[in-house]
Subunit: 123 residues, 2 copies
DNA sequence: GCAACTGTACTAATGCAATAATACAGTTAC
DNA sequence: GTAACTGTATTATTGCATTAGTACAGTTGC
């Protein structure tokens, strides 16, 4: 069962996209693997304090992308092969780093300063 | 006059927030300085292909924060002192790096891998 | 078999982002 | 002074995100 312990709700991004991203990142990291059970729509919505329909929207998009399989009455399961995982990793990292590099450059940071900051905030 | 040459519209974030962020980052970087003229609401909306009200919303928030001064009939001007610039720099960088470090960690990257990626994508 | 879960599918209502179309009063350039 | 700009304000409409409530059919554990 996939846990949402380190899920932190942010604002500025739709909740259903945050859920989507959380699962994709977990899959890219290997924390979520093929065959893993997803929490039910009702369980996760209660856990996150959001509406079941919001979770359903995220799950539906994941299913449309082929990342999860759902059957009426049964828990939804992750469907992940090596090709998919590799694609996810590539996509997510490229998006993230591109956006970050752009914003750093826009703020006038040198590469060295950016690296130093990343180092400091890593925790 | 502040130019918006390198403004790239992204989706997932409200347009008025993107405009707000663009100006704040410019101010933090020193590319935008005290007394600089802002493009008029109508000019910028035409340039970006959005509604004048969307630009107005961003400008209004900047004015509420004391970062710009507007007088009916005249162009709006940037209001930036050293204290404000220092505050902007600190706020923007902290937000950015925190979000990025979280997402990298969620994807299972080590600090060294993150630094290497940042290096690769810098340009 | 039955209760408690599961996915799925609706409808309705609310709030925010964005567009559209005006209107009015103040400033600026000629 | 006048035309062309400027900021400001208002109303209406559209679409998306989110909540709320309900319903139904399939699966699972006992």
């Amino acid at each position: 069962m996939i846990g949402f312990e380190d899920f932190i709700m942010a604002d500025g991004m739709p909740i259903y996209l945050q859920i989507l991203l959380y699962i994709k990142r977990g899959a890219a990291a290997g924390a979520i693997v093929d065959g893993d059970e997803l929490p039910s729509r009702r369980m996760l919505s209660a856990l996150l304090g959001v509406n079941p329909n919001t979770v359903q929207k995220a799950y539906k998009m994941l299913e449309d992308e082929g990342l999860i399989a759902s059957h009426a009455g049964a828990k939804s399961l992750m469907v992940l092969d090596e090709t998919t995982i590799a694609r996810l990793k590539k996509e997510l990292l490229a998006d993230e780093v591109r956006a970050m590099a752009r914003s750093f450059r826009q703020m006038g940071l040198s590469k060295e300063e950016a690296v130093a900051l990343l180092d400091a905030y890593w925790e």
